[in-house]
Symmetry: C2
Subunit: 230 residues, 2 copies
């Protein structure tokens, strides 16, 4: 009396369970990384929150680095998914940009507790680092092209797209540093506020010009190299 359907179900159930546990580990790790950084987080820290022992982690992941990689990979996939969803929208470019901004804030805060934040990039070694950087670049290019398209269409003014993207993503990545779940702001409120500021800057008619005052950059001791400047 072979019951392939039942047997299959049991197997998939197992696989699913393992998959869920992997994700739980990622969430725990991401939260810890965001708080104390990659090197400041011990495998025991990660395990403790899940009522596991650190030995068990090695059943699910090869080593600590693979956990960090999986965190990045997981949230970058969501972020690239956002890009696709937004581009599929039937909406003007400014609205698309606003939605992508809000979506990015959402991933950063809800999906893996700002894992992309704990971006101790230096902690990943060559092969893994390359993969992550490739994905991140794909997203950044998509975002830049959205901005450029807006400029071409005449709804955005001309800006240095690279710097603008760095500014926006930096602002969003930093949220994980001050955000506390249950605090005054939720992901939607932050997303709306950030998108508003960024998009309305691009929609504003003209550059804000100003002179950089003298007191900047002429400070004490920059040159006082002691054996040498690092």
């Amino acid at each position: 009396m072979i019951q392939p359907s039942v047997k299959l179900k049991a197997e998939t159930r197992r696989k699913l369970k393992t998959e869920r546990k992997r994700e739980a580990i990622l969430r725990s790790a991401a939260a810890a990384f965001a708080q104390k950084g990659y090197y400041g987080t011990s495998m025991e820290d990660i395990a403790e929150r899940l009522l596991m022992t650190k030995g068990s982690l090695y059943y699910y992941f090869k080593d600590k680095e693979e956990i960090l990689f999986a965190c990045h990979d997981y949230s970058l996939n969501l972020v690239l998914d956002n890009l696709e969803q937004v581009e599929a929208m039937d909406a003007p470019t400014d609205e698309k940009l606003a939605c992508l901004t809000a979506a990015h804030v959402d991933v950063m805060l809800d999906a893996l507790q700002g894992s992309a934040m704990a971006l101790d990039f230096s902690a990943l070694s060559e092969p893994l680092l390359k993969k992550i950087i490739a994905k991140r670049d794909r997203f950044e290019r998509g975002l830049r092209s959205l901005i450029k398209r807006g400029t071409d269409e005449g709804i955005f003014r001309t800006v240095d797209a690279k710097l603008a993207v760095f500014m926006l993503l930096g602002a969003i990545n930093w949220i994980a540093k001050w955000y506390r779940a249950g605090g005054s702001y939720d992901a939607k409120a932050i997303g709306k506020a950030y998108a508003d500021i960024f998009v309305s800057a691009l929609k504003s008619g003209k550059r804000f010009e100003f002179e950089i005052p003298d007191f900047i950059g002429q400070r004490n001791g920059q040159d006082s190299t002691y054996p040498f400047a690092p």
Copy 2:
């Protein structure tokens, strides 16, 4: 033949030398912290760049934490100084805000290699942490009040000043993550671009309103707690 002036000069020279060395250590540490984080940086890392041994560091600083504290304190002093300088300027509020932004970028990149970045706040213990947070809050309050003043004067539109400040400072703090000295952008270019975007957003006539699309926030697995959600 007592020569108080000479003796005094020699003494001050010594003090000065020690002070310089302390600063050199801070710069080395700040660079390392920015690259690999507080916990990822060893005392030997800090010493090595200065052709010292780690033992010597303890002649200048009590422990690693004090170095981190000094980094924060040093750059926060500069940042508070910026605030004063800008407030002393004879210029309209929008220009003041732009200058403060550019000045902040400058401190972040030139003064201590983005040390405020390595903001492993969690690495500081209570008494030191309190001092740093107090100073940082003083700066943030000053920045918020600048924005509010602009709104009162009618040159800025109404925004959530707290979120706006978080956004601006986050964007600036993040620069240290991608900035490379000698690269395409210098502190002035970045400062001008960031100030332009931020200020022109505040000067833009009206909010950019949009609806948050459905695909945001309804993603897979948020709920799949495995023993529990972290």
